[in-house]
Amino acid sequence: MRLRYLDEFRDPATARAIVDRIGNTWDGPPVRLMEVCGTHTMAIARSGIRQLLSGRVTFLSGPGCPVCVTPAAYLDRAIALGKERGVILATFGDMVRVPGTRSSLERERGKGLDVRTVYSPLDAVALAEREKEKEVVFLGVGFETTTPAIAGAIVMAAETGVPNFSVLSSVRTIPGAMEILASDPETGIEGFLCPAHVSAIIGSNAYLPLAEKYAIPCVVAGFEPIDILLGTLMLLRQKTEGAARVENEYARVATREGNRKALGLVSRVFEECDAPWRGIGVLPHTGLRIANRFSSLDAQIKFGLADFGTEEHTPCRCGDILKGKISPPDCPLFGTTCTPAEPAGPCMVSGEGTCSAYFKYGVP
């Protein structure tokens, strides 16, 4: 079956034509481009683009895998909630195998913890409506792409009155994290490939201050191979011109202003806060917490939980990988004590984690 708006952006002949243009555009030393988003990381690994452009472009994988940057302490709290209060934990599938400090949701589920995988936050609300005698806590993890859906579920639960539903929120915002990476001279980022669906919500204008202040070109790109190649070509053209503009390869979905309705809902439900990023530390103004008017749906308040604290110390170098400072093979644990079957760090556990992508697709 032909998949409209997907297949056209996967055509090998078109990909070759763009790769040729990239070759003609740039023949200096490899340009350090950061793909911020985990979905881009996975697509670049799976499609072989990293190898295809090696020598021209070095792709640095950024911190944009929400599962990877959720603190271990968050998972510890969630597991404790399930064990001590007997709540049902509803979660996106991506979170199930992520190691907390001592255990994971998957391991605890094997020992009887009630963990339900849901596709949508609305499924968690529906679950609470079915299981009226139990508390259902949705593990609200994500970036701007997912936050509106979590906000939507919170508003819906508030409006329809679902007293046994709450959200343990750990949502983060991307531009502030990009700014911290841009301002760190050690990362040496020469261009940002900006995330497709985060940008669909926040709009390409969100990167204007970044491009201006740090003179780094920014291109919003879709997640298909052709989108990534075209976005890369656009970044390299800016590089040869010495420009630092915001451009948009994914104009079919992302606009300049973004999705104002979704942003309005998010600002009704959430308010800005500082947030701990696993492996990185606390980044100011990069988190969202549930606003007071919805505090009855905030699991942290409902169950009197402490903040998620800061970092645990392990020999794992996910933090440097998430900042683009080193590549997975530079970590002493990579492929030895840290593998997808037995992950030591978050970048290996998530299917979209940088280490997992390198391991699975044998990136040299």
């Binding site: 079956m1 998949l3 409209r4 708006y5 997907l6 056209e8 055509d11 002949a13 078109t14 034509a17 763009i18 040729d20 243009r21 070759g23 003609n24 988003c37 985990g38 979905t39 944009g64 895998c65 929400p66 599962v67 996106f92 991506d94 596709y119 949508s120 936050p121 609305l122 499924d123 994500g142 970036f143 792409t145 997912t146 509106p148 859906a149 939507g152 508003v155 819906m156 995330p195 497709a196 669906h197 985060v198 669909a200 919500i201 997640f223 052709i226 075209l230 390869e249 104009a251 079919r252 979905v253 992302a254 606009t255 999705n259 309705k261 979704a262 809902l265 998530s350 979209e352």
Partner: protein
Amino acid sequence: MCLGVPARVMEVTGEAATVDVGGARRDISLMLVDGVTVGDWVILHAGFAIQKLDPEEAEKTLALLREFADAPEIS
């Protein structure tokens, strides 16, 4: 985790819709986007349409890609 797929709107009932995703039908929420009508394309993520897909903008990008493929630059 930020994947979203293009889906075609088949039916709209208030803030809900039935969409076709690669041949499968799904019920989704339209709470996050205004003015969606039958036949529109939306990006589906976690049970919500998160944005409309603009066919004209898609066509502009595809035209540029055809130009690349028709006039190859060999390096």
